[in-house]
Amino acid sequence: MAWRRYFFPALVGGLLFSSPLRAQGTTGTIAGRVVDSASAQGIANVNIVIMGGQRGTLSREDGSFTMANVPTGSYTVRASRIGFRPQTQAAVVTAGATVSVQFTMTRQAAVLSEIVVTGYGTQRREAISGSVATVDADQANVGVVTNANQMLEARVAGVQLTQNNGDPGAGAQIRIRGGTSISASNDPLYVIDGVPLQNEATAPREGGAPYNNQLQRSPLNAINPNDIESITVLKDAAATAIYGSRGANGVVLITTKRGVRNGSGDMEYDAYVGAASAAKRLDLASGVQYRDFVQQQVNQYIADSLANKTVRGGLPVSSLTSLGTANTNWQDAILRTGIATNHNLAFSGGSPQTQYRASLNYFEQQGVVIGSGLKRYQGRLNANHDAFTGKLRLGLNLTASRVNNTYAPVENGGGFTGGLFTNVAIYNPTLPIKTGTGSFYEISGQTDVRNPVAMIHEITDRAPEDRVLGNATGTLSLSSNLTAQTTLGVDINNSVRQTYYPRSSPTASGAGGIARQADLSLNNQNFQQLLTYAPHLGKSELEVVGGYEYTHFDNRGFNAQSQGFITDQFGFNNLGSGTAATSPLPGSYEDESQLVSFFSRANYGWANKYFLTGVMRYDGSSRLAPGHRWESFPALSASWRLSEESFFKGGPFSNLSLRAGWGKQGNQAIRPYQTQLLLRTDNGAAYPFGGAVVTGLRAAQVGNTNLKWETATQTNLGFDYGLWRDRLTGSLEFYQKDTRDLLFEVPVPQPAVVATRFENIGSLRNRGVELSVDGELWRRGQRTISGGLIASIERNNVVSLGDTSRKPIQTGFVNGQGQSNQYSEIIAPGHPLGSFYAPRFLGVNNAGQQTFACSAATHPGAGCTNGVTTDPTDADRQFIGSANPDFTLGLHNNLTWGKIDASWLWRGEFGGKVFNNTALVYQTKSDAKQGRNFLAAALTDPDSISEPAKFSSRWIEDRTFVRLQNVTLGYTFDIPARLMSGRTARVYLSGDNLILLTKYKGLDPEVYSTDGDGGGIAVRGLDYVTYPRPRTYTFGVHFQF
């Protein structure tokens, strides 16, 4: 019985080792070579596929290729490669023989790579019916690129990427087709070589001192951008539903470079050095300006005193005593030219059976703020081996990296005391950096205002991270059209944050030095089992994938702190030498969760004209409530290649296809254990009966036993076009995405142990249009100019917050002294996320008070006269616009002029608002009443010195900007063969963030200043004491041997 032959081996050894026998002599080999029509040289990496099937290979370095074990029969073989016109040839395979197929390809302008990684497999570009965009890594990896996120900037329509700030390796807010969630994560799923990445902060948070609330750096920093071959972004539900519960925010598939068959052994060396400096600085009052201002205010006070006024203006005479004689620019004193260096060595090679690629990377980036930076040491190995005459293919990807983060004591948000940037803004500029004896100057008796230069030199804060990303794959060809693939992946990240505040620092002088260590361990194991069936069906093509996936997450943390040291020499290396028994107790935690999935996908194509894809994924997550854990995520999409129809031939369209798709996606990115009522033994529950502390237990959250998936359904309509023999290509897409059962932390009826809990409430709608155009604009021999444009329009709207009696959600909490309980945004039905809600600023009256619009009908009390108030209340707030741009544009050009190449990238976001929280808090003369400096703009505004900083529309500015993101100029030349057996070399100069055109008065309108912990949920466009964005110049070389 035939089934025994398969069942028992599978049972015993699993699929990896089951080797079905097949009669010999029914297959043959296709072999040949691809050459460039102009140079007659071989072309490497050409994609060779058998039409109507899924078999394919890549050509070798010399253009040759071989496909063995092809069942006998007549085939059409297609060769395609980016930059060349695809070509087809007929081939008849006979048993045991090798048929030769030769291609001569001509160059053309094209931007679409032909084989696209689509999740649990690959697809030919023209067969894709979902919305999928690809980024060519070589084009996007220009200038100083710390992580893969930066390669997406302005390269994909519908992807809005906002780097948090200018901190090296800074995290980013990445929104694919807008944010679709309010409380749960809006980050896309990152999949690296088929294995999902655990997209969590990789270093423990800072701690030990009360003033920091830093944004975390990007989890992608562990991956060397030079190793990336391509990035595919799956945008619509038809494309992402195969990732089910994790696909709602889009999926970013990162494919790394690998060795080539019969490569003759290739070695590449890349290096660059970059110099970065802050692109813009805050215009703070200088020492001279501050001194003059205080003197002038004292004169006012004296005049009022002489006039016997009870309430005197200005500053009391005593203010003069706090003035020093220096003129310190605190900003200059903490900024520097940050040097970045990168060395990358890669070698690859292969035989027909075995291919490998290995790379080594050293990257060092100094931040423009002294004390911040990161270093990366990374090694990577990628190997494939074919066994059993190509029936079994084994693969291994292994990345090991060490990232050494160092941090300046910067803050994100913050209130009363703040961190480095707050002190830069407020520290009296008439005071010197150092005293006459060389120690840092500190204002005597002050602990809440600190010398910022002392802060960066005194405080040590670092976090080395070790990450291992690995996966092993076995692909077994069960028959000519059935393959099974097993993948085991791990993602392990261990990091240690070490912080020391020395005894000399005002922060820790009372404590006698504070040392802290925090460990974080992220562990993620992934198992995938895939079965792919791709029969040969004549004119039609079919591929069916079925699979099972299991992911286990286990995250742990530990921290300990100590203080009261006799010396600063131990730093954080000897916590046990602390003396004070007053440090917080050590802490530890563990979070564990599982995700289990079954999925299948069927692609059907007919005559290369009609394509249909159906997806079904069934996901179960332990993070959700029993009874609601499992959910199905279906999707269906179709495309029609109009240009293949006979009635369409002859027109300008060399390619035109119409795509339509619908699907459902999920989001479960909430912390584990939200469904249960948890009792925690935290300090908030401890109680000192009789003066001795008794450990307390308190309910830390209200469990929601009905918690279920947040789901989004998305409909997509797209056109792919190629005009004039694909000289101009691109796509146009329309989508609508409806997110329901939003995971949302809402107030619950009292009494409740905790006032809020996660519920599935409300819905959100995103709609948008995306356009991309790429083309060869001009060509004369070896001289070409090409260019591309992407444009996106995205609109989101909160449709409902569930119960109609539910109050809009306040968010975007305002930072700074005197701004407690002040919010800047609300989430309300009928309005987009990121909607500013503020009193409308009218002007400043003669008394130097700010005035705001009000309505006597709703304004409480009697403070509203003729629609004007000086004392705005919540009832006076209005919608002031949202942080979302009306549309975004990205424009890139490439120029080749013989051996010279150049490229540039412009991007712009138009419309939308940004809240200048920095100006609200620091552009006020009232800061001088506390001996604090302020922004120079306050000197000329009419506000009185007694006017407090009041949040209003005054500080909500236009966000529109255009940025020259990058310009690169390169020169390629051949290395003479007698020298180091070199082949080619390229040198280049690159500049990042060279021009920023905007009316925004803050540092940069593209900003993300607050996170979910302190700032509220779904906050957008809030700018508070941001780490300045650098302008970077890079010089680099690339050698190929």
């Binding site: 109507g52 599982q594 179960g620 997550s621 009966f689 009789g690 237990l697 107030p747 009292q750 009494p751």
Partner: protein
């Protein structure tokens, strides 16, 4: 190319079957049970006495939220003349919330309501819910001390409910752990509930705990809360909430006399009985409570040893940061250095209150006026410009105060060089024996027992001032008690309740520019009668569709 055939399909099916083992392995990996490793759940907790004590500690710990910056105890003072937080430059502006509460301009969505009233509503109800959870789980266990633990937690639940009705009038009464929307009970219903709960609970409470359990509730605590309820029965036992508060007289004394409580007893008599139960309480070591010969020792960092304190929030300067931060809120930046930055230089009292403290009364020393000193060195300190720090009695303009304006509150003086920054070990006093005497005096006066009333009043008064208060009319003794309560309890969370009972809450004034009915009086002076209860903030209102807003808001 081969054609599609059923035979091929069958072959595929058979091959697919070979995958069954793999999927079978998969099924064992579909167990999605979630087990927290670093927290307990109600089913995994409370198996031992220690776990139960930890749960009880959690219910007590919630009281720290009730006396936190801007919550119950401070709103009680901030809405009166005792406490003012002027805007000092941009510092302490905070969206106007401090002055919103102080100047009684609050509305359901004003900044003070959104911040402080929402916080008070949630924090006090969280105490109720935590108590409900403990009562539920403990009454299901076989713990030997089950009855006393339940009585203890019921008393705490009653105290949280007392504070809620004090702020908001009638509130939802829930005694189960289920999370659901419940409509508000009337204020007399809440009153009756509290009476029943406290009376039943005190039977199972000890007279006194051993010193290691100091701070846990006793019979004295239950009786002290009852005494406070009864003396306020003219307010607390009157319909007020969604129904108009017309039974409460906003501009005259609201007597307990004539208000019938359980058993038909007159509330004033009930107040005397409850106060007596505390005053006359005794155990093996003699009287349970005694007035402290040194009044200041009721509040100092070692006030755990004061025999006068009946009910306190126990604080500690331990690393867990479970101390009080009163000194931080009020002292000048340079008066104390801590590991967490200096004090915050915010709170002050009005000139009107400070001037009511005669120099002859030692209690005046609870205020810091004139030159400020360091709590570490004892030396005079300077302001931030380097000139002598001098706290002024008057605050010329509440909107434009400078850093030295206003007399500071130092009833709970800080530990010098505190080991844990802002966390001070002074226990915060909810009830002291002195108040039982003053409640008894007030109730006796209402019942016409003026001589007894005067004796109780002078017992307190003459501890601080040499001359006794002379006999007078009922009204004169009332007034004297009102003043004595200010001198005695300023800063202990009593002022708003007292002012409402005495009918002064809506008419007090402040002679500062931008002060309430002060130098530049607003048209709405005195304030509208409905302000004797706070509004339910829109945040709280939105979480429960059955809640009806207080009348007038």
């Amino acid at each position: 190319m081969s054609k599609f055939s059923w035979k091929a399909a069958l072959r595929f099916g058979l091959r697919a079957l070979s995958l069954v083992p793999v999927f079978f392995v998969g099924e064992t990996c579909t167990n999605l049970t979630e087990v927290p490793h670093d927290a307990l759940t109600p089913t995994t907790a409370f198996h031992t006495d220690q776990e139960i004590l930890a749960g009880v500690a959690g219910v007590y710990a919630q009281m720290r939220r009730a006396e936190d910056n801007g919550h119950y105890a401070t709103v009680q003072e901030l809405s009166t003349d005792v406490l003012v937080v002027p805007t000092r430059g941009s510092d302490w502006y905070d969206n106007g919330q401090w002055l919103d509460i102080h100047k009684q301009t609050w509305s359901p969505n004003s900044s003070g309501a959104l911040g402080f009233l929402t916080g008070s509503w949630n924090d006090l109800f969280s105490g109720v819910a935590k108590a409900n959870l403990m009562i539920d789980v403990v009454s299901k266990t076989g713990a030997a001390n089950k009855d006393s633990v339940v009585a203890e937690v019921r008393t705490l639940r009653a105290w949280y409910t007392y504070m809620l009705q004090d702020l908001f009038g009638g509130v939802p009464l829930v005694t189960t752990t289920e999370l659901k929307s419940v409509a508000r009970s009337t204020r007399p219903e809440v009153f009756a509930f509290l009476e029943k709960e406290l009376t039943e609970a005190q039977a199972n409470l000890p007279v006194k705990w051993p010193s290691a359990s100091y701070g846990r509730v006793t019979k004295g605590v239950a009786n002290a809360i009852l005494a406070s309820m009864y003396i306020n029965a003219g307010v607390f036992n009157k319909a007020c909430g969604p129904a108009a508060c017309s039974a409460i007289n906003p501009s005259a004394y609201n007597s307990c006399s004539g208000v019938a409580v359980t058993g038909g007893k007159d509330a004033c008599q009930a107040a005397i009985d409850a106060a007596n139960a505390v005053i006359n309480s005794s155990g093996t070591g003699g009287a349970t409570y005694q007035l402290n010969s040194n009044w200041f020792k009721n509040f100092t960092i070692d006030n755990k040893s004061s025999p006068e304190n009946i009910f306190v929030v126990v604080h500690s300067n331990s690393p867990q940061a479970i101390g009080g931060d009163f000194p931080m809120r009020t002292l000048h930046y340079n008066q104390l250095s801590t590991g967490d930055g200096g004090p915050w230089n915010g709170w002050a009292t009005t000139a009107e209150v400070y001037n009511q403290f005669p120099a002859s009364d030692d209690r005046q020393k609870m205020w810091l006026q004139g030159q400020g000193y360091s709590f570490e060195t004892g030396l005079a300190v300077n302001d931030r410009n380097g000139n002598p720090l001098n706290f002024t009695i008057s605050i010329p303009d509440l909107n434009k105060a400078n850093e030295s304006n206003g007399v500071r509150f130092n009833k709970f003086p800080p530990q010098a060089s505190p080991p844990k920054g802002s966390a001070q070990p002074n226990d915060y006093t909810w009830f002291r024996l002195a108040e039982m005497y003053l409640i008894r005096a007030e109730a006796e006066n209402e019942l016409g027992q003026t001589a007894a009333a005067l004796a109780d009043l002078n017992l307190i008064h003459q501890k601080h001032q040499p001359t006794a208060i002379a006999a007078g009319t009922k009204q004169a003794i009332r007034d004297a008690i009102y003043t004595e309560r200010l001198l005695e309890f300023a800063g202990e969370g009593k002022r708003r309740t007292d002012m409402i009972r005495f009918g002064t809450f809506l008419s007090w004034t402040e002679n500062s520019a931008n002060g309430i009915c002060g130098a530049t009086p607003a048209a709405s002076c005195p304030r509208a009668a409905y302000r004797v209860v706070f509004p339910i903030s829109v945040n709280a209102l939105g979480s429960n569709p059955l809640l009806v807003q207080n009348n007038g808001y």
